[in-house]
Assembly symmetry: C2
Homo-oligomer: 153 residues x 2
């Protein structure tokens, strides 16, 4: 995967967190995914298809996931419930949508988000894809972004 | 989600297992997903987008996942490794591709598969989508299919 493809996603994470949540994110790390890559407690995956196809994964630590839904819905939540999963899916949809708009030459469309929970869950891409991972820190805790895209030759 | 949309996926599971693996599948159950729906040890998710958008999840018990890769690659494997994940992703891709061909009026395209492992992982769709789940039994063990599609009004 070409490195320049990741920048629109990184920008989009920052924009969505700032605009929707009033929370700034700080990029801490950027690396090719290996099997030591952290996945946090709640993840959402959205498939992308078009002239480039792939998937984007946003994975939030529990504290970030709870704060996201509290901020978006103005309710207190103490556990990962359906509202939290929907909010994480919607956030990932906004991140993918923002990046897609900046990558319009690939004419990508988005699938629906699937949310994954479970301690120690792990999300893998096909082995011919080398996803790029980006770790972020916020005042609420850590989150990560993974993007794997396959470009036609 | 309209029930008639599920049939092409069910047919496709049967075709792919029979053609690629020489293994017949028996449909055991069909129901709307609730939070008690079983997810097996290895799952693959593929996003679909087009005039209908959504995702398909194929979830295999450990014994089925190992037999799939043994049959496809003619190697013995004792654990869920990268070959197993790739094989499960490819199988899901074939299932989704077969169904897509039978649902050509929706002009759907497929994203890349993402594979999910982890004991007790759970995959959720957005709460406005009501995925249909289908349980299958094979001589190697159980597997399940989930399809959630959102049709424009």
């Amino acid at each position: 995967m070409q490195a320049e493809l990741i920048n629109p996603f990184i920008l989009s994470v920052g924009n969505v967190f700032q605009t929707m949540l009033g929370c700034s994110v700080e990029r801490k790390s950027l690396y090719l995914k290996d099997h030591h890559s952290p996945t946090y407690e709640v993840s959402a995956v959205i498939g992308l298809s078009g002239k480039a196809s792939g998937a984007v994964v946003l994975s939030l630590s529990r504290s970030v996931a709870l704060k996201v839904v509290e901020t978006l819905l103005n309710v207190q939540v103490g556990e990962i419930n359906a509202d939290v999963l929907d909010a994480v899916g919607e956030l990932t949809n906004m991140v993918a949508g923002g990046a897609k708009a900046r990558l319009s030459q690939y004419e990508m469309s988005l699938g629906l988000p699937s949310m994954i929970t479970g301690r120690d869950h792990s999300i893998k891409f096909p082995s011919n894809i080398h996803p790029i991972c980006v770790g972020f820190e916020t005042r609420w805790g850590p989150l990560s972004l993974e993007v794997g895209l396959d470009l036609p030759d």
